[in-house]
């Protein structure tokens, strides 16, 4: 039974790299402590990689490239997902354009943009007076975004939480 649960956990993580522990627990259908126990054991055995990321414990298949980990965790965060979607829809947007399209505050955009620049996900393109930004690997980000239809996943997750008693 234990090996079955671990095989399921490994399978879920391989399909959805970057899953956080609570989400994995919901999907696997075990208690939170059991899920954490199995994940810890699999991590110790080198079958999974567990990374702490802004209060979330994210789980990846072993050997996931650190750059891919960054991108996977970004597309799973609501605000970054919104900003990256805007980058894919708009051609080299300015900071103001990002604010308009995402309807996020200027300070939020500024903070996230700085983080994206530091992580090497986007880069500056200075065109005269206008400072625009572009994705460094748009095809890769686009592929990752298609794998995570956030709205549907979240709606399903909330539906499960609502009836999980």
């Amino acid at each position: 039974m234990q090996s079955q649960n671990r095989a399921r956990i490994k399978l879920l993580v391989s399909f959805q790299p970057g899953l956080h522990l609570r989400e994995l627990q919901r999907q696997v259908g075990l208690s939170f402590s059991s899920t954490r126990y199995h994940v810890d054991k699999l991590t110790r055995e080198g079958e999974l990689d567990r990374v702490e990321d802004k209060g979330y414990s994210r789980i990846y298949p072993p050997g996931t490239d650190s750059k891919d980990r960054v991108l996977l965790s970004l597309v799973r965060r609501k605000t970054d997902h919104k900003i990256l979607s805007c980058f894919l829809a708009e051609n080299n947007p300015t900071q103001q354009r990002l604010t308009e399209v995402t309807e996020l505050s200027k300070s939020t955009i500024s903070e996230h943009l700085a983080a994206l620049l530091e992580l090497g996900v986007v880069r500056n393109r200075d065109r005269g007076e206008q400072r625009t930004f572009e994705l460094i690997e748009p095809a890769k980000i686009s592929g990752l975004m298609r794998r995570h239809p956030v709205v549907l996943v979240k709606a399903t997750s909330r539906f499960i939480d609502l009836w999980d008693f």
Partner: protein, 94 residues
Amino acid sequence: MLDITDGIVHVLLVAFSGIVLLISLFAYVERKTSRYFFLSLAFAFLAASELVGLIEVWFLSTQLIFIPSTGIHLSHFLEFLMLASFSLALLVRN
């Protein structure tokens, strides 16, 4: 005679019940427990009931559809099945 506003409301009811049914099916696929099965079933009955309502309004000039030789209004029967499924979803162990 077809009341356009009422017709649009019925189309929206079918669309929204379809979306909720889809979400409940995803939840069932994810959890595979009897509770989520009964919830999906309940939302399927809701979607079917709304579809019957839509057919009555758009194609039968608000004439009601009855189950033959019983005199039961089909839409009401589907709603009864929906409530039964919700009750089962609440009562079964997850």
